[in-house]
């Protein structure tokens, strides 16, 4: 029993596949590079009379003559004249819900035209939608009977068949009073889903909310209302709208997220106005040196924090744009804060700030380097921002895991760290081997030699 168990444990805990490494130094990549060279060397033989069997492609890559390509062609030729008109129209129609519903423009002629041409599309939605119409088709005045038929025993399968094209549902929606419709649908989950989806798709927000309220799905009511903010372009309006969302019946957890969303946008509006002015005035050095690429409005919190660490790092906690204020207001965890501040300061190559970020003093006044994230991560971020070896070295040294430390040190050529680590490991063979990696006659080589000659070290090999 216990043996079987041990087996089992081993089975679940051992990793027995050799993962393929997506590492630069891999043999396989050099193989690939070699193949590329080989193939490329053939290019001059091949390229002389190209194109004969190639598809001709346009600048955007679509084969010339394909349908997608021709559409782009027509679009670009007609666009220029329409640009102005388009944008003005866009404004009006960007949010359908905002449009006043068109007054029904049925004309008798259009009605009959429709009927004649499409005999299949008759009774339900066409004729019964409008009381006036019933007079033209008295035989269709059977809503009650039909409704009864449909409302009795809907097996899931029948529902599916009936719901497929939404015919019945639209019919019911148009003929029944809301309360009755809702009540009937409540016990028919599939039909209910269909109606909800239909209302979402057609943008009938009011009826959707009524329905959700009727069903007591309060959280969905809240989410569905909150969702509307996505359609509000103007930031001031959006902010106002979000303010209104705070009182919606969200769960306690989500309420605080909504509150944060509102506060964040509020702050962003203040910061944006201020910084735009500063930038335009041209007196702030940082904005001149690193012009802003985009507005901070509607960006996530972490992006805002990065921005603030980049442009407003030294500000006191009292100002809205200071990192400290953001950290406090939104209760940003240390880890998150450090990662973001590190990335921002490293980007500016402000190595002193980086240093200060990790330095802590204990009660005796000694300083020590501490980080809420692994130091290998710190190294990676610094390296990506091309930190000089001296800076990098300091953090590589702090990586706890010996193997990771050696890997990083070797990868980024922090010779000191490699040498010291081998010394501490008392690994003479590796240290000797490393000699060929450092420059001949350099201080590093000297260091290796002096360690190797040190009689006090008891080498393990």
């Amino acid at each position: 029993m216990s043996r079987a168990r041990a087996d089992e444990e081993e089975y679940w805990h051992s990793s027995k596949f050799r993962a393929f490494t997506f590492d630069d130094e891999d043999d396989e990549l050099s193989q690939l590079k070699e193949s590329k060279r080989a193939v490329n060397s053939l290019r001059d033989i091949v390229d002389d009379d190209d194109d004969d069997d190639l598809e001709r492609v346009s600048w955007s890559g679509e084969p010339v003559g394909s349908i997608s390509w021709s559409i782009k062609e027509t679009a670009s030729s007609s666009n220029s004249s329409l640009e102005g008109r388009d944008s003005s129209l866009q404004k009006g129609s960007s949010s359908y819900a905002a449009l006043p519903k068109q007054v029904s423009s049925y004309s008798l002629s259009s009605l009959f035209k429709g009927r004649n041409k499409l005999p299949s599309f008759q009774s339900l939605s066409d004729a019964l939608s409008d009381t006036g119409v019933k007079n033209y088709a008295p035989e269709l005045r059977r809503p009650k009977a039909e409704y009864k038929d449909y409302s009795r025993d809907w097996s899931p399968r029948d529902t599916v068949r009936r719901m497929q094209r939404g015919k019945v549902l639209i019919f019911l929606k148009r003929t029944l009073r809301r309360e009755i419709l809702f009540r009937e649908l409540e016990v028919r989950q599939v039909a209910l889903c269909h109606l909800i989806h239909f209302l979402k798709e057609s943008g009938e927000q009011k009826m959707l909310l009524d329905l959700l309220r009727f069903l007591d799905r309060t959280e969905e009511v809240a989410l569905s209302q909150y969702r509307e903010h996505l359609n509000i372009q103007d930031v001031e309006k959006r902010r106002e709208f979000l303010k209104g969302c705070i009182g919606l019946p969200f769960s306690a957890e989500d309420t605080s997220h909504i509150q944060d969303h509102y506060t964040l946008l509020e702050r962003q509006i203040i910061i944006e106005a201020n910084d735009r002015r500063l930038e335009a005035a041209g007196q702030s050095e940082i904005f001149q040196k690193y012009p802003r690429k985009a507005s901070i409005l509607n960006m996530p919190l972490v992006t805002t924090l990065f921005y603030s660490c980049f442009y407003h790092y030294t500000e006191a906690e009292g100002t809205f744009s200071s990192p400290a204020n953001l950290k406090k207001t939104f209760k940003i965890p240390d880890k998150q804060y450090v990662l973001t501040a590190l990335a921002a300061r490293a980007k500016l190559r402000a190595w002193d700030d980086v240093d200060a970020l990790f330095t802590t003093k204990n009660w005796l006044g000694y300083t020590k380097k501490k980080a809420p994230i692994g130091f290998h991560r710190v190294v990676e971020i610094l390296q990506r921002n091309s930190a000089p070896v001296q800076v990098l070295q300091e953090y590589v040294r702090l990586v706890e895991d010996v193997e990771t430390r050696l890997n990083l040190a070797t990868k980024y050529k922090c010779h000191d760290v490699v040498i010291e680590t081998y010394r501490d490991l008392k690994d003479r063979i590796q240290l000797t081997a490393y000699k060929c990696k450092v420059e001949r006659g350099s201080a590093d080589e000297e260091k290796i030699n002096s360690i190797l000659n040190n009689m006090q070290i008891r080498w393990k090999n």
Partner: protein, 623 residues
């Protein structure tokens, strides 16, 4: 039994006829509006259309100008407008706007709307509401099936996934049943049908009904496809969420995402970094590409070796021309050069693609990520993986990848511990934007990212409770139970089916022994394993526990008439239907299984999917 002795898999049927049928119907519909006309096309119908027709065919049938449906027509254009669209309400509004604008300016035109693959009544209702119903004529273009490759048929309906699994809308089921009917009439009759999942079952039943109504005439015809297997995507989200490492899957993950809103119909956008020139190329990747067809199913690590071997061969071929005399040279140029050039072009394309993949993956800590994924699949070091995910979020690496990892964690662990759920969610909203609150809600409803509930035992008392309370309350309780029923039970299923292969020593990815190779030997895709097991057992016997854990809705039906000719090749051809999308990793795994067992799988899917496409469908966008 079908497995006795290894046989070569039969050849796939010819699906070219599907294209011809679609093209002919389209031409017929265009002819219904005689005379010159402008054609407005739905953006996501463009590339499927490119696969079956060409501009010259359209021109032959008097199509004058082509537009995307959402562009506004130039004022001077033709007297007839034809719209080729998906049945979407927004598109209807747009068309209505065009018609109404014409009316206002006193311009009279003819309008025709062609719905593909079918029309929904809601669309007509919108036209009616907008007061243009009488001005347009409507038609349906039953273009259900687009063959992407010799063994892949796509319905090109990526929205099916969200519509059905998130919104619970059943409107596409009819479309699926019709697609099955069409395939059955052309390549059937299918003598055996298996399936699992609610949608699979409904589609199957609806299809049977359609067959009965239409008085099946195909009796006595020799079938080319003998079996059909339907599966809902929600039977197995794990596989779709894993990082893909077979070549075709990697290409899909790396390059096809860019055109995500439009299904790309099997073509790939290779950017300038791949083509080593300043333009990008749209390439069709399928069995016709002689290089691609040999590496598509391979694990990425085997691809390099293959490409370098190929390029050495190619070089040798070219080198032969040294020392040729004039006559030999002439022969060489006229007979071989063209083929070599073709091969050269393909080779450099795929080498470029590999390089670009490597570059992207090394930048993303792919190694570490795969490690975390494998730990999740095997169920150890959960804490470590959780903090890996946390850091991934904090560093804003990628919103979709972060979601993917969270979902994997949730499904493999049957939901997140409440504390982790809250903290990861908060950090996610902080890193990627507060509006993702909506995304989290959607994921919860789908069962993709859930919080472990306090009352796990509720399911047992469900029936008793619902008898005691009023109908209305019961509805609500059922809702609550539904979300509980969506418990994934992945760990238990994985143990039961042995999805984590027990391997002594190294897994040789170049000589795979099972379908796990598509995930570096770490995991056998659940969806494919189910198909393998059911085919082997010719039914669900012995899989009762798995079925229960998957929440049922399985079926296995055999047509007694078809049984006698079970020796025929058709019995070894299986139509694998993925409702809600299928990944290239799954396709590769089943192709492998087919080779091993002498089966031929034909894939029918609502769309080719991958983790990014699935998760993007969960994000709310502005209207």
């Amino acid at each position: 039994m079908a497995f006795a002795g290894r046989r070569d898999a039969p050849e796939p049927p010819d699906f070219g006829i599907l294209k011809r049928l679609a093209r002919d119907q389209l031409i017929y519909l265009l002819e219904q509006l005689p005379g010159k006309k402008d054609l407005f096309i739905e953006p996501d119908l463009m590339s499927p259309l490119d696969r079956i027709a060409s501009v010259s065919i359209l021109k032959q049938h008097e199509v004058d100008k082509l537009y995307k449906v959402d562009t506004r027509p130039a004022p001077s254009s033709s007297d007839q407008f034809c719209f080729l669209v998906r049945p979407r309400l927004r598109t209807m509004r747009h068309i209505a706007d065009i018609v109404n604008a014409d009316k206002m300016s006193g311009r009279s035109r003819k309008y025709k709307i062609i719905f593909s693959p079918q029309k929904f009544y809601a669309c007509e209702m919108v036209l009616e509401e907008e007061g243009v119903f009488g001005d347009v004529t409507c038609d349906e273009w039953s273009f259900y099936l687009l063959p992407l490759d010799e063994d892949i048929i796509s319905m090109e309906l990526p929205e099916f996934f969200r519509d059905y699994f998130l919104e619970g809308d059943h409107r596409w089921i009819n479309t699926i049943a019709r697609a099955l009917q069409l395939l059955n009439s052309l390549y059937g009759p299918f003598s055996r049908a298996y399936g699992i999942g609610r949608c699979a079952k409904m589609s199957y039943e609806l299809w049977r009904d359609l067959e009965e109504e239409s008085e099946g005439d195909g009796q006595g015809r020799t079938p080319e496809i003998g079996n059909v297997f339907l599966m809902d995507r929600d039977m197995d989200y794990v596989t779709a969420l894993c990082s893909q490492v077979v070549y075709e899957g990697l290409v899909d993950d790396t390059f096809r995402i860019k055109c995500a809103p439009c299904p790309s119909a099997g073509s790939v956008d290779f950017g300038p970094d791949v083509t080593s020139s300043d333009k990008s190329i749209k390439v069709l990747l399928n069995a016709q590409d002689k290089v691609f067809s040999q590496i598509r199913n391979e694990h990425f690590s085997s691809v390099f070796g293959f490409l370098s071997q190929k390029s050495r061969n190619l070089q040798a071929q070219y080198d032969r021309r040294r020392g040729m005399d004039i006559k030999q040279m002439k022969n060489f140029v006229s007979q071989e050069l063209k083929g070599l050039k073709q091969e050269h072009r393909l080779l450099s394309l795929h080498i470029g693609a590999c390089e670009s993949i490597m570059k992207k993956k090394t930048k993303q800590d792919f190694q570490e990520m795969i490690k975390a994924e494998h730990s999740l699949l095997e169920g150890f070091d959960i804490r470590e993986s959780t903090s890996f995910i946390e850091e991934h979020i904090d560093r804003q690496v990628s919103p979709i990848e972060s979601l993917r990892l969270m979902c994997l964690l949730s499904i493999t662990e049957n939901g997140l511990v409440p504390k982790d759920y809250r903290s990861l969610k908060t950090q996610y909203l902080q890193s990627y934007g507060p509006e993702h609150l909506l995304t989290f809600h959607n994921l919860k409803r789908m069962g993709l990212l859930t919080e472990q509930a306090a009352g796990e035992t509720l399911t047992a008392v469900e029936s008793r409770v619902s008898k005691l309370v009023t109908d209305r309350a019961a509805g609500k309780i059922t809702d609550a139970f539904n979300s509980l029923a969506k418990k994934s039970n992945f760990r238990a299923i994985s143990k039961k089916l042995g999805l984590i292969p027990r391997v002594d020593g190294e897994y040789d990815l170049k000589m795979p022994r099972d379908m796990a190779y598509v995930f570096s030997g770490a995991y056998i895709p659940l969806s494919c394993k189910i198909i393998e097991q059911v085919l082997e057992r010719r039914g669900w016997q012995g899989l009762e526990e798995v079925v229960r854990l998957l929440n049922g809705n399985e079926f296995s039906v055999s047509d007694s008439a078809g049984e006698d000719n079970s020796a025929g090749d058709a019995q070894r051809v299986i139509l694998a239907v993925f409702l809600g999308g299928c990944t290239f990793s799954e396709i590769a795994a089943l192709r492998f299984l087919g080779k091993e067992r002498g089966f031929k799988f034909i894939f029918l899917t609502t769309a080719i999917t991958n983790s990014a496409r699935m998760l993007e469908a969960m994000i709310e966008a502005k209207a």
